[in-house]
């Protein structure tokens, strides 16, 4: 039985996705404006009172480039938004790595984790880990990403949970279990002992 220990309000995640979708609409608007400008410049230059056609050409080209880059970037950002959860068998990081551009939510089972290496530490607080999965995927998991959704206290609690996960997946018996393809289960009490209820 899977028990959720840490969950971020799904409404906040939905709001973030909605905002990034609005960005995509705006990017589409930039495309439309660039197209309209090009059509007017080619067909009805008097409507625009074109004074410098060369400069206008470069500006329209730049607009198309900006629209393309913004769309690509916003689409990637939208797809990276993920539901946040920590349970006894798996966890869902706040943002999906760029190698997992799925529209559905993404979670990592503990048995899939090959290693978790701290990136930096100050006063015993480790905010981020370089996580490598058994299929070779590596990504940086940063607890501070959660500041978009929750306050500092919750971020620190989440960071402590990541420390628990790192310790548990590093234990020899769990590594052997994962190597055999069996589930790695971290009891709820382990999390509560370090991070509170």
């Amino acid at each position: 039985m899977i028990q959720a220990i840490f969950v971020v309000d799904p409404a906040k995640i939905a709001r973030r996705r909605s905002r990034r979708r609005t960005h995509l609409v705006v990017d589409g608007g930039i495309f439309v404006v660039a197209t309209l400008l090009a059509i007017l410049a080619l067909g009805w230059p008097a409507v625009l009172d074109v004074q410098n056609p060369t400069l206008l050409f470069f500006a329209i080209a730049a607009l198309f480039a900006i629209a393309a880059y913004a769309s690509w970037s916003d689409l990637r950002t939208l797809r990276s938004v993920n539901s946040v959860m920590v349970s006894t068998r798996a966890f869902s990081p706040p943002f999906k790595p760029k190698e997992r551009p799925t529209t559905a939510d993404w979670s990592v089972a503990y048995k899939e984790i090959a290693s978790m290496e701290p990136v930096a530490t100050k006063g015993g607080f480790i905010p981020a880990y370089d996580v490598t999965l058994r299929d070779g995927l590596s990504f940086q998991l940063n607890a501070l990403d959660l500041l978009l959704y929750v306050d500092e206290k919750e971020v620190r609690r989440y960071a402590k949970m990541l420390a628990v996960i790192r310790a548990e997946v590093g234990r020899p018996e769990n590594r052997e279990r994962a190597a055999r393809g069996e589930d790695v289960v971290i009891p709820k009490e382990r999390f509560e002992a370090v991070a509170g209820g």
Binding site: V26, A59, D145, L147
Partner: protein
Amino acid sequence: MVIVVFQALQARAHPPGVPGSEYNYALASHGGVASASGSYQTNVPGRAIDGSTSTYWQSSSTTGWLSVAFSGWVSIKEVHAHFLSKVYGSLSVYLNLDDDTDFTDPGERVWTTTANTGLDVVANLPTSYSTIAMKLTIDAPNGNNKPKVAEFEAYLIPPDSDGDGLTDGEEARTVYFYESAAVGLPQAVPDLGSNNTTLTVNRLAGVPFRGLADFTVDSPLKDQLSATLSYWDGTGWVEAPVWDPGGWLTRPTILVPLAGAHVGGSVTITASIASPTLVTLVDFYVDGILKNTTSAPTSGTNYTWDIPTQTRNGWSAWDYLWYGVTAFFDQVLSWVHSAIVFVATLVEAFVQAIVQFGSWVAQAVSTAAAVVASAVQAAAKVLGQVVDALANAIMSVIHAALDPLINLVVSAYNAWAEGVAQLILSMRSLSVDDFVRGLIQVTFYSAFALAIFAVIVAFSVAEKITNAMTLGMANLAGFVIGAVAGLIIGMLVVAAVNQWLGSDVIGDLLPKGFDDVTGAGFTVAQFLFAYELAQRPLKPIRGIETGLKDAIIGLMLLGAASAIKLALGDTVAGLVILVTLDAFALYKELSGVNDVISITGKGANLVRMWYPFLYPVTVAVNAIGVATAATDLAGDAGRLASRL
């Protein structure tokens, strides 16, 4: 009898015109003929004297002249030139005072300026001149723009509404008349209701505009008499009542339908005559067009006309469709126009508020930088004399290195900017391929690029040396460097915001002369920021990253919008596109700010601790982005509103 003899240059006897609608001698409809040094496309000189501000003359070069030959000798005191789009500081006005073919005789240059600041130029001449032609010269260019003049006008001030050479005031004070005696007076009073008596006067030549009948009636029954003055209007005789003490000649009133009533089908119009004795027929007009004449009253005082109002029985489906579609589009266009005016005004007001907000954020950033500085000093005191001395030493080294470094960067930046400017000037003659190659060469093989790399290397080396020197206190040293860098970047950003806002509210916070290095300094900040992103193992968190991306995309949009602004004139279509792009940019900037504010509100301490350099830069870039986008949007929306 008084005989007034005058030589009017425009010999016409007109009544004073409507105040404020002075007579423009230059108009083509008043006989003006325009010529110019050259014209761009179809914008010929005649468009500057056609009375329409939506058409214009455009010079074929960046300066030029425009002249108007009047229909004859005229007296003028003021010359107006209404430019479009660009202001030209140096202008002159010449008059042809001797009816030769040029404007070069001594005293013919009657007005000149080198300090004009407006699009609507009023040349108030030192005195009124009698002249036969005038000429406007644009003596200095404004960039590469070709001057546009919507209207070129000449007036006699005080106003001469009808252009007859007499001012309105003179005409209002003086009555000119031609007296002609009637023939056959005195006449007996005619029989009541049966006879008319007609008198004639010697015919007037010319174009009279007023008639005065001066006669005496010796009768106790004056209220039963009336007199009418008849005149020939060129096509027929027109009668005008001049004396009607009994009210016999009063105009009919419409009894049915009532004013404002909606009627349909066959409608009976009833006209009532107060004194029917002298009326033999009644004419019915609709919109000035004679529709019906009747001489048979339906009752003692009433005349009627049955009017078949428009019925749709004979309409085809196409008529209905066409009527409906045109009415619909008329209404929709009216709504759209009102909506655009409303939205543009609303946006202008809104973004003015945003500009204030941006200014406030910029001030808050500068305050935050000051707070960081205070915190550094306080920490240094607490940590004791050794650390204090060490920090001071580091600060001294940085300050000693900073001034010559900034000078170097400024010089290099100026050279680089000049190179780019030269490249852009020669852009027309280059292929796109050559232009891009040139831009890369100018950017990456310049002294400016070397200076930037030198700054990056210097900071990198300083960071490593400081870490080594401080041994176990590397974190503190890193913090100090981060704080110092943050302060420098903060001041650069404050200077940039200060310059762009054109406000001196926050300028006092900056060291003397700091504005001079703003442009170069901001570029340094961008390079340092890129260096920070590339070097740190801890990747930027979401929110900071998205906030920066949104801000940078917004700034890129504003850059493209600026190029469009330079490439287009002030047409409504162009301004609508600009306002749309500005609004998109502002949305991106505000979205970025929203992410940063969200993170700041939930865990500013954590972010400052882990991103001592990235965080203040992000806040600063967002503040700049909002302020710039809002300022651009306010300006463009204001221009659009004024055009509409």
